[in-house]
Symmetry: C2
Subunit: 377 residues, 2 copies
C-alpha cells in the first residue's frame, strides 16, 4: 500500500525521524469509490481521521461534505473551502458556547443523543437541524465501540420530539456501526432501528428526512476487507428493505475508509534485543510507538502491515515496542509480530495503512519526542 509516489518521496527527500506520508491520489480514488458505491448518499468526511489541510482542500474541491468534532474542525473545513451548509457538527458532546460559535459560523446541522443537548442547541442555534444518534452494539468492529454515543431508539423518539417542541428541525437519525466494521449486516441491524424511530415519529406527525449512517468503512490492514462496492450494495439493500420506496436522504461519514490506506509511516529500528540469553522472542523497538501516533495499537486492536527490506526471508515472532520510557508503550506483545530474522538496528520499516488516526493522536511531547510529522503529497 506504499504507492510509488510515497516510495519516491521517501527515497528523494530522506526525511529524518518517523513521519507519515499521505498520497492524495489514493484519497481521490477512495472518494470516487464511495461516490460510486453509494451514489445517493452525501459523503461527510470525518475530519478527525486526518485533518491535514491538503486532504481537506482536495475533498472540499471534489464536493465532499465534512463531519466535524469541534469548532476548530469546523474552522479547518471552512478554511479548506467547504461552505457551512456542507458541514455537520457531529459530536454529541458540545459546550453551549461552542454550539453558539458554530451557529455564528453558519453551521445548521448538529448531532444530539439526549434532551440536555437539544436544549443547548435550542437556546443558541434556533431552528437548526438536529439528528439523534441511536446506540448500536458495534459487533464485528475491530476498534472498540463503547456505549459512549447514542441512546436507545425509544429515547431517540423522545429526544427528537423534544427538539421539535423547542422549535428545532427534527431532521433525522444517525448511528455508527463501529470503526473498521467488516460485517456487512451491521448496517441492516442499525437501519432497522432507524426505521423504528422514523415510523414512531411519523405516527405523531413528525416527518424525519435523513439517516446519517456514520462511518465504520474499513481500510485494509493485514486482512482483506470488502470493497466499497460491497458495502454500497449491502447498505442499499438494507435501505430498500426497511424504507421501501421512501428511502430518506442519507449521509455517510467515512474517515478511516477515506484516508487509512493513503498513508504510510516511515520508522527506524532503534534496537533489537532479548531479555535473557535463551529467550526465543526478540524485542524490536521502533522510533514510533503508542504515544507517537500508533495509539490504535491500544489492546493490540489495530494490527498494521509492516514492510521491511528483508521481506520474503525467514521470520520469527517479535514483541514490537515504541521508543519511550513508558512500559505501556508496547504495540504487539500478546500476539507477537513476525519480522525477518535479518532485520537490523538502523533499518527503516514502513508501517502501512496509517493515513487515519495517527498524526492527531500523537502526544504533544511525550519523553521529549516531537509529534509525528506528516507530508501530504
Amino acid at each position: 500500500m506504499a504507492t510509488q509516489r510515497i516510495l519516491d518521496f521517501l527515497a528523494t527527500r530522506r526525511p529524518t525521524g518517523p513521519c507519515l506520508v499521505v498520497d492524495l491520489d489514493v484519497v481521490r480514488d477512495n472518494f470516487r469509490a464511495f461516490e460510486k458505491a453509494l451514489p445517493d448518499s452525501k459523503i461527510y468526511y470525518a475530519v478527525k481521521a486526518n485533518p491535514a489541510p491538503e486532504i481537506l482542500r482536495l475533498l472540499a474541491a471534489m464536493g465532499s461534505s465534512f463531519d466535524t468534532a469541534s469548532v476548530a474542525e469546523v474552522e479547518m473545513a471552512m478554511d479548506a473551502g467547504a461552505p457551512a451548509d456542507r458541514i455537520s457538527f457531529g459530536n454529541t458532546i458540545k459546550k453551549e458556547r461552542d454550539i453558539a460559535r458554530a451557529y455564528q459560523l453558519g453551521i445548521r446541522l448538529f448531532a444530539v443523543d439526549c434532551v440536555e443537548e437539544v436544549e443547548k442547541i435550542a437556546r443558541v442555534a434556533p431552528g437548526a437541524r438536529v439528528f439523534c444518534r441511536v446506540l448500536t452494539d458495534g459487533e464485528g468492529a475491530e476498534w472498540p465501540l463503547s456505549r459512549k454515543f447514542g441512546c436507545v431508539p425509544a429515547m431517540a423518539v423522545d429526544v427528537l420530539r423534544h427538539a421539535k417542541g423547542l422549535g428545532l428541525d427534527a431532521y433525522g437519525v444517525s448511528f455508527h456501526v463501529g470503526s473498521q466494521q467488516t460485517d456487512l449486516t451491521a448496517w441492516d441491524r442499525a437501519l432497522a432501528d432507524a426505521k423504528t424511530v422514523f415510523a414512531t415519529l411519523a405516527d405523531e406527525g413528525i416527518v424525519l428526512k435523513m439517516v446519517n449512517m456514520g462511518g465504520g468503512f474499513p481500510t485494509r490492514y493485514l486482512r482483506d476487507v470488502p470493497a466499497a462496492q460491497a458495502y454500497g450494495q449491502a447498505i442499499f439493500s438494507a435501505l430498500r428493505k426497511h424504507f421501501g420506496n421512501a428511502i430518506p436522504e442519507t449521509i455517510i461519514e467515512p474517515g478511516r475508509g477515506m484516508v487509512g490506506n493513503a498513508g504510510v509511516i516511515k520508522s527506524e529500528v532503534v534496537l533489537i534485543s532479548k531479555k535473557a540469553a535463551n529467550d526465543n522472542v526478540r524485542w524490536v523497538f521502533l522510533d514510533i510507538g503508542k504515544f507517537g501516533g500508533l495509539a490504535e495499537t491500544m489492546d493490540e486492536a489495530i494490527r498494521y502491515p509492516i514492510v521491511t527490506a528483508h521481506d520474503g526471508t525467514e521470520t520469527a515472532p517479535c514483541v514490537l515496542a515504541g521508543p519511550t520510557c513508558d512500559s505501556a508503550d508496547v504495540m504487539y506483545e500478546k500476539t507477537p509480530y513476525p519480522l525477518p530474522l535479518s532485520l537490523t538496528i538502523g533499518d527503516e520499516v514502513l508501517i502501512e495503512g496509517t493515513g487515519a488516526y495517527t498524526t492527531t493522536y500523537s502526544a504533544v511531547a511525550f519523553n521529549g519526542f516531537e509529534p509525528l510529522r506528516s507530508y501530504v503529497i
Copy 2:
C-alpha cells in the same frame, strides 16, 4: 490536594478550557522530603513526568539531578541550569546518533539493558559510565510494568562485562519496581537481584559502584500511600540487608512522587445524560479525557480524586468520559465513579493528583482540541 495557591490562581485568573495548575511549593516540599527520607541517595528527577521549565529550574536550583529519556529532555535539563554531570540518559532505547549528541553535550551516564546498546555507546561515547537495568516483576504497582525494560540478572552480568571489555565504565545496576508502587517490599526483592550482579562481577574483578533504584514512589490518589519517610526506611533496611557495610552509591528517580500531588486539572462538565430513560447510571462528559491528558486512565489504571462544588451531598455512580468523538475516550466505566446527584452541566470540577504524566501525554490536536494548557505557579 488543590492548595490555596492553586485555588486562588483559578479564582483570580479564570482560565477558559481545561488546564493543569502546578504549585511549585509542593514540588519543593516533595524534593526536601525525598532528601530527608534518603539522605545518602542522589535524586534524579524523571523529566518525562512533567518537563515544565519552571519545575526543572526549581529542581536544578535545589541541587537535583535529572533522569532524561531523549536528547530533547537532556537539553531541557541543561537549559534549566543542570550541569551535564547531573544528567543521566536513562532510556535503554536510544538511536546511536542521539547517544553521540548527548555525549557531545557532556553526558557521561547511560542506561543499557543489552549488549547491542552497549556497543552503540562504546562506538560514540567512549569511556562513558553505563548501568544495566534488570527486570523486576512490578508486582504491587498500579501502573502496569511490562517486560519492556531490563534483562534478567544473569544477562546483566554479561552486558556489564561486555561494557568493560569495550572500554566503558561498568558503573552499576538499575531497576524499577513499577510506577505508583505501594508495596514497600518491592525494593527489597529488586535489591537482592542487584546484589547478585554486584557479587558475580566482583568475583571477576569488576567492581560496580552504583545502584539506580529508579522511581515508583507513589502520589496520593484516592487511597493513602506510605510517606516518603516509610519508603526511605524500607529501602535503607534493604540496602543494609543486601550490601551490609558496603552500600554503594545510590540514585533514585522520582517523577510521579515529585510532581503528581503538586498539580490539579480544572475541567468543565460538558454534558450529563443517560442512554435510556430508565438507566440508573449517568454519563458525565468532561472537557478533558484520555486524549487530552488523562491517558493514565487507560484500563482504568489511575483513579484520580475529583472535587466538585457539591461534595458532601448525595452521590450516585457515573460513567466518566472525555469530549472527543472517540468511543475509547472513556475514563471510568467498568468501575463507575460516584459523583454528586446535583452536579450540573457547566460545573467546574478539579481533578487532583494530576501534576505528573498529563501535559506531555496530551494529544497534539485530536478532534481539533488543543493540547492541555499548563500553568506553573
